[in-house]
Amino acid sequence: MSKIHVTTRINGDEAEFLCDAEETLLDVLRDHLNLTGAKEGCASGDCGACSVTLNGRLVCSCLVLGAEADGAEIATIEGMASGEKLHVLQQKFLDHAALQCGICTPGILIAAKSLLEKNPDPSETEVRYWLAGNLCRCTGYDKIINAVIDAAAEMRKV
């Protein structure tokens, strides 16, 4: 069957790929574009490890088809740091030891960034609800929540 030709923008750069209709955006990112930051945890929308933004909206890339990316703007974890300089959220995750195995981390960072763009001063409850779709099997969440709140405070200073 003929492949679908998709033209999109990923982290600000134009990207083109061919995919089958069945392939998800997560499959395309990982297997065709070599952007393996987004992880496949569940492939059913439950864990958030595959989080990216699509036209500015936080989504699970396992529940988006590659074909749907045509003409869209996508942001992934690969676009978060500027060169060698980590994003404040990334640095705070290191400072707070907010990760262990790290599988959930790219998705949580993308989700947290999208929260802080919408709400620069979230309460702890707001952070917990926003991140309810990002599962972490290692940390117990408190360090993640603290890192996000600390990053928000730092980002409000500048």
């Binding site: 089958d20 059913s44 958030g48 936080l58 529940l63 988006v64 074909a67 749907e68 779709g133």
Partner: protein, 287 residues
């Protein structure tokens, strides 16, 4: 499988009708892609409706709002006009899934997936919302109540799809509320749920009401006895007891891992009472 993203309703209807058994509408994909992945369905053609002109718009119409079939939960929740007029519908939609799921899920998809536990459906039925359907035989308007026909079944005919859902105009001193019971605080499926929409007079007496229950029967239930229990009263304890009894009597729940029949019967009465109180408060009444 093939993928198509038509830009007009006519083209979408033509594609769906060309292959009525094996074509499926793709809206947010938060049910459909999970079901394909799990091997529950194997469509030949996905018709992505999100690129149809106007289908992501929310428009004021006749004093109410027309919500395009591809408007996501997140977009609905950001619309100040809809939030002010139909807070119960918005809170029901916002309960669907996580932030990520909100970025994609639609009310029409929630309705057409036809799960008995679909969160937006009782609120839409309480609101007397109307779906606009386009298909091979043109356009028709159908009450949301008449769309679900069983678990996973709808009254849509081959080639038909929903293009928008209309939330009607409502008088002053009217509001709505939706509550569900889940054992967690987020990311779970309703064990049972209740949506209430009502209107008050200047003294705070309920003059009109619609009460709809979710996850206590194969399809959403509109309980007219429950509405009768409210009309002519304030939401005092005796009125809410009568409302609760009407709800418990009307529901036909099943026993499953999420709750027993007895539990659902009891809890749905409590939820309906609390939702009625919240709706009264939102409508400007005192308790």
């Amino acid at each position: 499988m093939q993928y198509a993203a038509p830009t007009t309703t006519e083209e979408a209807a033509r594609l769906l009708a060309s292959n009525p058994k094996a074509a499926r509408v793709l809206a947010g994909g938060t049910d459909l892609l999970v079901q394909i992945r799990a091997g529950m369905i194997a469509p030949d053609l996905l018709v992505d409706i999100k690129k149809i002109n106007g289908i992501r718009d929310i428009t004021a119409e006749g004093g109410g709002y027309r919500i395009g079939a591809a408007v996501s939960g997140a977009e609905l929740g950001e619309h100040a006009g809809v939030v002010a007029m139909w807070p119960g519908v918005v809170e029901a939609v916002e309960l669907i899934g996580s932030t990520q799921v909100q970025g994609r899920c639609t009310m029409a998809g929630n309705l057409c997936n036809a799960s008995p536990a679909a969160d937006s459906v009782p609120a839409l039925v309480a609101a007397d919302a109307v779906a606009r359907i386009v298909g091979p035989r043109g356009e028709r308007n159908v009450a949301v109540l008449d769309i679900p026909r069983g678990v996973g079944k709808t009254s849509l005919e081959a080639g038909e799809f929903i293009t928008s859902i209309y939330l009607p105009k409502r008088p002053d001193r009217a509001s709505d509320a939706y509550l569900r019971f889940i054992p967690r605080t987020e990311m779970d499926i309703a064990v049972c749920s209740a949506g209430v929409s009502l209107t008050l007079d200047s003294k705070g007496i309920i003059t009109e009401a619609r009460v709809a229950l979710g996850a206590v029967a194969p399809t959403v239930l509109l309980v007219s006895e429950a509405a009768k229990a409210l009309i002519g009263h304030k939401p005092d304890d005796a009125t809410l007891a009568a409302l609760g009894k009407a709800c418990s009597d009307a529901c036909k729940p099943i026993d499953d891992k999420r709750g027993t029949i007895e539990f659902r019967r009891d809890v749905v009465a409590v939820l309906a009472g609390r939702a009625a109180r919240i709706a009264c408060q939102r409508a400007g009444g005192s308790l």
